[in-house]
């Protein structure tokens, strides 16, 4: 907001119209700053932390952060799609655990990488599809409830069929989660692949435009002949698929499956999306926001670990950042309203 103030003073001698133009460009500058804000904060964070603890920038630690962040990032990209349509997917954590348990059970029967991966992906995608279908065709007012229900059902199911942690995953799954290629963690490559797919889906394809339209104005989307129901269901299916990919990576990294996996993953992924700078109100944001947010959470956790700060403070830190991010979202819509009224004034 400082630019606005200085700009006003700077142009106080000029005509009112010039002053308005100045105010308008100041508002636009502020909006642009708000847009790159999360990335700036992340860079600042890395700079400060690397001063505090030099170990932070060691390749081993960076690689550590990347593989720890991978699961959150992958699932957050799916969550981002759902949030773009003004929705939410609370079931991702439970869904992920159920998928690993299903994979673990299949592994007991057959030590086959393709089969286990297929089982994990199918299980998670099916839960996503159920979320979408029940939400849309059950005519629920909001996906909160149905995804809360599947959260509960998935947690119960995985305890019923999985009981406890099962050791062992087939070779490829372990490689995807735990190995490197030329020093780059494979899980990071999976994140890159998911992000690239999300980029094509949302920015290059008609479907992506529809996702933004549905998030921006659902009623208008219907009036413009967009298949709103199909778009909504598809975002939950894709969110489920992303959970499946995340489940493969986590099961691979740990070489195990467990009904306890993915605890609070829904909160981490929602936080990633919001911290990264996407709007919780829908229609604004892209996978980059989810990635930035996920890395920011990873960096904060890692740094506080390195500095031996109590785990409770990590949660407080992330909570505070969420508040800041949501406030930034509010500030953005205010600035937009201001830009609009300045436009009106300029045309009068």
């Amino acid at each position: 907001m400082e630019e606005v103030a200085t700009n006003r003073q700077g142009t106080s001698a000029a005509s009112p119209k010039a002053e308005k133009a100045g105010a308008s460009s100041a508002v636009k500058l502020a909006l642009r700053l708000l847009g790159v804000g999360p990335l700036l904060i992340l860079i600042l964070l890395v700079a400060v932390i690397s001063q505090l603890t030099p170990y932070f920038l060691e390749p081993v630690n960076i690689s550590n952060i990347l593989s720890q962040t991978a699961v959150i990032a992958i699932v957050a990209i799916g969550q981002q799609l759902v949030i773009l349509t003004r929705g939410i997917d609370l079931s991702v954590g439970a869904n992920l655990a159920l998928a690993t348990v299903v994979g673990g059970l299949v592994f007991r029967v057959a030590d086959s990488s393709p089969l286990v991966m297929l089982a994990i992906l199918a299980s998670a995608t099916l839960v996503g599809a159920i979320n979408g279908v029940v939400y849309v065709y059950g005519r629920l007012p909001h996906p909160f409830i149905v995804t809360l229900a599947t959260l509960s059902i998935c947690r119960a199911l995985e305890l019923a069929i999985g009981h406890t942690t099962m050791r062992g995953m087939p070779a490829w799954v372990s490689a995807i989660g735990g190995s490197d290629t030329f020093g780059v963690p494979n899980s990071f490559l999976v994140v890159a692949a998911v992000a690239l797919t999300a980029l094509v889906l949302t920015k290059a394809m008609v479907w992506g435009r529809w996702v933004y339209a549905v998030g921006g104005n659902p009623e208008a989307a219907l009036e413009m002949g967009i298949p709103v129901k199909g778009v909504l269901v598809s975002t939950y299916v894709i969110s489920g698929f992303c959970v499946g990919v995340g489940a493969v990576v986590l099961a691979g990294r740990t070489g195990a499956s467990s009904p306890l996996y993915g605890n609070l993953l829904e909160l981490d992924t929602i936080a990633s999306v919001i911290i990264g700078g996407a709007s919780f109100l829908g229609g604004r944001g892209h996978f980059g926001h989810a990635l930035i947010g996920a890395v920011m959470i990873g960096v904060i956790r890692n740094a506080l670990n390195l500095l031996s700060v109590d785990v409770f403070f990590q949660m407080i830190a992330i909570g505070l950042i969420i508040v800041v991010a949501v406030e930034a979202d509010v500030l953005r819509s205010r600035l937009e309203a201001r830009a609009r009224s300045l436009q009106t004034a300029a045309t009068q």
């Binding site: 989307a221 002949g225 436009q343 045309t347």
Partner: protein, 249 residues
């Protein structure tokens, strides 16, 4: 000249309320038809039946003389009827060009299902810019989301979008209700341009000044009935008011 749009004996009920009672109207190319009436007279209901939001309970809609069933807004648009709703139906998060083509994106290849096609973004940007230029709509930026634009600019985008895709009829529901004098002026000029192009225009408004200035014909509804049809001018403005409120002139 034949009517491009004809509504015959339209009937519409909402529960116990009879919203439309045997209302008929015709719209012609190159003509602005004003639809007048007090709140609750049935204007919006009638328009929503034509634009596919509601289904008629009785009567029929003819396009170029052929009875046409209009089941949905999408069907109305396919039939060549574009509607500019009061809420504008704009996507705040999209740019003007993206708004223009939303739901009918130019994309390829055509053998793929619509949603899976790839957007021809540049072509859409270029064509939208051309249309806006033709209609003399000035916008601060074609790259910014329409959330950043003024009421008049947003209205102009919505009207221009309708103008591009309409092949027969453009319906405007209170297009100047939320605008200041200068911005209203621009929208009225825009409507006059649409008439020149040869569209049939149906204009809902409460502003009789605008009706007298722009409309070639006016139809007055009261309590779901058509109570009058005349050619509005300065001289019969009072008659129009009397028809609208139901008092003897």
């Amino acid at each position: 000249m034949n009517a491009v749009l004809e509504v015959r004996n339209a009937e519409k009920r909402f529960g116990a309320v009879q919203a439309l009672r045997r209302v008929s109207l015709s719209a012609y190319r190159g003509e602005v038809l004003a639809l007048l009436g007090d709140n609750g007279a049935g204007k919006s209901t009638l328009v929503k039946c034509v634009s596919g939001v509601y289904a008629l309970d009785g009567g029929e809609i003819l396009l170029d003389g052929e009875a046409t069933a209009i089941h949905s807004p999408a069907a109305a648009r396919r039939a060549g009827i574009e509607t500019v709703y009061q809420d504008l139906a704009l996507f705040d998060n999209l740019t003007p060009a993206q708004n223009f083509y939303c739901g009918r994106e130019i994309a390829f290849p055509s053998w793929l299902p619509r949603g899976l096609r790839l957007l021809s973004g540049r072509r859409m940007d270029r064509e939208a810019a051309q249309v806006l230029d033709q209609l003399r709509v000035r916008l601060p930026s074609l790259d910014a989301p329409v959330a950043l634009m003024s009421g008049g600019q947003r209205q102009a985008i919505s009207v221009a979008r309708a103008a591009v895709f309409a092949r027969k009829v453009v319906i405007l529901d209170e297009p100047t209700a939320a605008l200041g004098v200068r911005e209203s002026r621009k929208v009225l000029d825009l409507i006059a341009q649409l008439r020149e192009v040869g569209h049939a225009i149906i204009l809902i408004t409460h502003n009789l000044e605008h009706v007298v200035e722009l409309a070639d014909r006016a139809i007055v509804l009261r309590q779901g009935r058509k109570v009058g049809e005349l050619k509005p001018d300065r001289a019969n403005q009072k008659d129009l008011v009397a028809l609208i409120v139901g008092a003897e002139a």
